[in-house]
Every structure is written in structure tokens, then in C-alpha cells.
């Protein structure tokens, strides 16, 4: 029994494709407590979406499979070996999810109210249609949609992108899930709408005791919204810590690169942005050594040979890098964000 709300140990998820086995997630461990917000940060292909979808086994057994030895423990239950009935209960009631693209995540042929009420009625068989619709209207009000009584009968195409995303949020919290997973919730939205949606999520975070997992590649959002951040690359976690630790004292070269790639207020106009050379590795090959070795400015021969273990820098801050070894040269983090 874990003392955490969610505990994940050595999660490995693979896909079988016609060209071979793609190891999308290669041994990821983390935990989440009630009321916490964890951000999983990384670029496309790093495995962050696969990781969170695996928490609810959203892939089914055909396309992807969770490798043996993976442990997903939610409130004491073993998710990896759940049967379909238990999984249905978990999805919605235990864990809710907000998807990236509101245009394609809502069913265009069903009203918004129906889609919100769908989950409610599934998890509570005794509730009547009218009561469920009433709940849907309340939820729409909660997520800040004006004139909810009218909107509840409308179809997704009659709402704007920002409103659709709010509907997605309403669906995710409809059954009072303990964990809400937000998979790139604002990537497809305009800047001002993104701010509105994030503010809504922030509100929810403060008013309820729900835990949030935010999956994104946008560093600007995570430092405000999340409590803890973990950086993923090629299916493994390279560094994790509280947001203060990750901001003030990042240790991994990939984290430095990510932080530096984003121009900020202080960066010199038209100055060179710190960029990483090369491209992410082919996930079909088993990777020997650190997956970031090919692209790391500080790469050493040992990095290509063996995967570094995790070093615990504080109770919350860990990093997997050979630079931490006593025999490695002491590297100072490059000046962040192009400060002169």
C-alpha cells in the first residue's frame, strides 16, 4: 500500500508497429499526492502523453501494451491488472482527462450537455436524465460558460475553441475525479484564451483538493501552474524537482537547454538562443547509455555506454546525469535565458 494517491514504478509502455517494437516509455517512476500539481515536460516523442494515457490504460491491448514489471498504484488499487469493469470505474471517477484539441475531442453529433451528462449517468446509474442535465448546467456555470441553460443544448460546432475546452474541463470534473490529467490543454488555443483556460484550471486547483497532472512542452505555463516538474526525454525522466528547484538550480543539460530555448524578457534582442543540435532518437532501437548523449554539449564517453542512475539532490529533486559523478568535470549551468 502506498502512502501516495498515485504511485508509478518502472512504467514501461511499448507499441508494436510493422517495423518493430517502439519503446515509448522506458522505466518511469513518480508519485502524486492529493492537491498537488505535477507537470511532465518534454518535446514531441518523449513519451509524456503515452505515460499519462497508460495511467488509465487508455490504449487497450491492441496498439500498445504495458510491459510486465510496471506498477501503477492508484489509491491502493493495481491499475495494470484491472479488468474492464474496474477500469470503467476508474476512468471518470478516479481519473479524469482533458485532451489537447477541443475540436476533435468532442463528438460533433451530440449536444454538449449530453456529453457532460454521459459520464455522470454512467457512474451513477440511479440519477435521472433531468438531474444529470441539471448537474451539467451547474458544471457549465462552474467552468465559466455564460448562459449555461442555453449552451447545454448546443452542439460543439456552435461554440468557440476556448468554450469547447471549458466543456472538456467540465466533462473531466463531472464525476469528481481525484486526479485530472491535462494533456496539452492549451496548445491549440489563442494566447488570451489560453490564459483564461489556465486561470480556470488554477481556480479549480485552489478550490478543490484535486491533484493535477499537466503534460506540456510550454515551460511558461508550468512554472506558474505546477508544484513539481519532471522533464522527460525519449521515454525516461532526466530530472525532476519542485518548480523552485528546477528554476533556480537545474542540473541536467537538457533542462538547461529547454529553459534557454525560450526567449524571455531579459534575453538580448536577436541574440543567439541556446539550441540543441540534432534530433530525438529513434525509439525503435534500444538505447545504450543516456538517450540525450548524442545531442548533449557536455557528453562524455561514459554517457554513451551506460545510463546514469538517479541521484537524489534533495527530497524532491533528482537528476540522472553522469555530470554528477565525482570523476566528471564540474560544469556550471550556462546563464539562463540569455541573460547578459
Amino acid at each position: 500500500m502506498s502512502e501516495h494517491l498515485l504511485e508509478v514504478k518502472d512504467l514501461a509502455v511499448s507499441f508494436s508497429s510493422y517495423a518493430g517494437k517502439i519503446r515509448a516509455v522506458r522505466g518511469v517512476s513518480f508519485h502524486l499526492d492529493a492537491g498537488e500539481t505535477l507537470a511532465i515536460v518534454g518535446e514531441s516523442g518523449c513519451g509524456k502523453t503515452v505515460t499519462v494515457k497508460a495511467l488509465m490504460k487508455l490504449y487497450g491491448n491492441s496498439a500498445a501494451f504495458i510491459e510486465e514489471g510496471s506498477v501503477i498504484d492508484f489509491k491502493g488499487q493495481d491499475v495494470v491488472h484491472m479488468n474492464s469493469r474496474e477500469l470503467s470505474k476508474l476512468r471518470g471517477e478516479g481519473i479524469g482527462m482533458i485532451f489537447q484539441d477541443p475540436m476533435t475531442s468532442l463528438n460533433p453529433t451530440l449536444t454538449v450537455g449530453y456529453q457532460i451528462a454521459e459520464g455522470i449517468r454512467f457512474h451513477d446509474k440511479s440519477i435521472s436524465r433531468q438531474a444529470a442535465e441539471q448537474k451539467a448546467i451547474e458544471l457549465l456555470k462552474l467552468v465559466g460558460i455564460p448562459s449555461p441553460e442555453e449552451r447545454v443544448r448546443q452542439y460543439p460546432h456552435q461554440l468557440s475553441g476556448g468554450m469547447r475546452q471549458r466543456v472538456m474541463i467540465a466533462i473531466a470534473i463531472a464525476c469528481d475525479a481525484d486526479i485530472i490529467i491535462c494533456d496539452e490543454p492549451t496548445t491549440a488555443l489563442d494566447v488570451t484564451i489560453q490564459a483564461q483556460v489556465l486561470e480556470l484550471l488554477n481556480d479549480l486547483k485552489e478550490k478543490t483538493n484535486k491533484a493535477f497532472i499537466l503534460v506540456t512542452h510550454d515551460l511558461g505555463i508550468v512554472f506558474d501552474f505546477a508544484d513539481r516538474i519532471q522533464v522527460m526525454y525519449a521515454g525516461v525522466i532526466l530530472e525532476r524537482g519542485t518548480k523552485y528547484e528546477m528554476f533556480d538550480d537545474p542540473h541536467h543539460p537538457y533542462t538547461w537547454a529547454l529553459l534557454n530555448s525560450v526567449p524571455s524578457k531579459q534575453s538580448k534582442n536577436k541574440g543567439a538562443l541556446y539550441s540543441i543540435q540534432g534530433t530525438p532518437p529513434d525509439l525503435m532501437m534500444p538505447i545504450q547509455g543516456c538517450p540525450f548523449a548524442d545531442r548533449c554539449d557536455y557528453c562524455m564517453p561514459i554517457c554513451k555506454e551506460r545510463m546514469p542512475q538517479e541521484l537524489q539532490l534533495s527530497e524532491t529533486h533528482t537528476v540522472s546525469c553522469w555530470l554528477e559523478h565525482s570523476m566528471a568535470p564540474k560544469i556550471k549551468a550556462p546563464s539562463m535565458r540569455g541573460e547578459e
Binding site: S29, Q277, G278, E324, H325, M327, P329
Partner: protein
Amino acid sequence: MSPMNSDWVNNTEGLTPEMFKTVGVDTTKDRVLRPHISYWQDAWRRFRKNKLAVFGLILLIFLTVMVIFGPIIAPHPHQDTNIKESYHPIDSEYWFGADKLGRDYFARVWQGGRVSIFIGITGALICAVIGCIYGGVASYFGGRIDTFMMRIVEILSSIPYLLVVILLSMWMDAKGVKTLLLAMTLTGWTGIARLVRSQMITLRNSDYVLAARLLGVRPMKIVTSHLIPNTIGIIIVNITFRVPSLIFSEAFLSFLGLGIQAPDTSWGALCSAAQTVFTFKPYLMFFPAICIALTMLAFTLMGDGLRDALDPRQRK
């Protein structure tokens, strides 16, 4: 968090200082990792992986070989009648038996196959040529001309072609391969015209065509270097699917007596002639019918495979 063994940072066992020298990024490694293949080679590779499609191709090759060489290797020429051998059963002398007039059915079937397949492929090609030109012109001009041309297409495609065939054969007072081809292609090109036109319009709005326009490339050059190569795939697939439907149409029409007439024969004509004695000599219908079915299957399977192989979006 489970307790972590952080002693590894101080564990120097088996490690040398050499392993910790900074080497940085190996810039020669920023290469395209996958082997270099063109679009067509890649399509062929994907086609090959599709077992059903390959089966279709093999089947088609087999049928083509039989259709070409069948009448030649047959023990008796297909047109030689021999009343004495009427309805000769299947044995080593008459591989498919003999028909009512004592003709070698093996030779007859493959001879008929020549006609059926010829009509299928020729008809499909004629439809493709007309359709491409028509659709290309409509999409090139756009606006009113395009609307007008497409209305004609709609009208033509709503006419039942059986009606066209009957009227045409009555009017031309002739039946046979030429009339059949004319009838089938008179309205058969409408489908591909639509396809080509919509594909061209889509392509015209794509970014790379816009880039070519901005570079100052002449419209004709854009058509030949961008629009046509990207449409050929669709056309090939369409032709591949058209052939079996034309073969079936021919069979159907000949079966009704509107198509191939004696002494020429086709699979449909053979089936038609075999109708009356079906209960006594089922093999007379059996062989041509199986051939029709196999040919249609072969083209359809190949068409499916080609469509998947040539679709650029499925590229991994």
C-alpha cells in the same frame, strides 16, 4: 520516494578518467538516418508488405499468362468445331471439356478471356484519359466554366448506362467490341473526372504550389511538375478498380445478349451460352464464371494495396 542509492556518484570502480572527458556533440551524426529511397520505391516496399495485394498481383500475372498462352497451348484450336465431340467431358484430351459444338473449352475460355480483359483494360484507360483531360481542364479554369462542366458530369452520371448501351446498339445497328467499348466509356469517365478535378483543386491550394507560384514558376510548369505527378497515384488506383467493374459490365451485357456476339466470345458470352444447359453441364458456366470472379478479385486486391501504398499520409 523509495530510497535511492546515491552512492554511485562516488563509486569509481572500473571507471577511468578517460570516460569523463567532455566530447560534446558529434556533428557528423546529424544525418538522415533512414536509407535513401524515392517515393515510388517506398510505395513498392509498402505494397510488397501487403500480402493480399501481392497475392492479387500474382493472381493477375497468372491470369494474364493463361489468357495469352492458353489458346496456344490448348490441345485444339478454339474455333474448330467438331460436332462429334459435342459436350465431351473433362479429361486429359479436353482439359475443360468441350462445348455444344465440340470446341475445346479450355481454349475457348482463355480466348474469351482475351476479349474480356482487353475490354476491361482498354475501357478503363479510355475513361481515364477522357476523365483526366476533362477534370484537369475544369479545375484549371475554375469559376463558371468549371461549374458548367461539372453540371454536365452530373447529368451524364445519372443516366443508367444500360440504357445507353441498348440505345447505342440499336442506333448503330451493330453489336460487338466497338459498340460495347463506346457504350461503357460514353459515361464511364465521369467518376475519374470528378476525382482528378478535386485532387487538382486541393493540390493548387497546397503550400508547395503556392511556393512555386511565388518563385515565379509558369502555370504550365506547375501543372507538369507538381499537379500531375501528385495525381498519378490516384489515377492508377482508379484505373485498377475500374477494370474489374468494366469486365463485369461486359460480362453482364454479353450475358444479356447485348455484347459480344458469336463467333467472337468473351467470358460473359460463354456464361450466356451456358445458361440453357446449366443443369446438365454446369462446367460450361463454371469455368468462365470463376475466371471473371478471380480476375475481379485480383484487380480489387491490387487496387486496395496500391491505394494504401501510394497514400503519402501513411508513410512511416
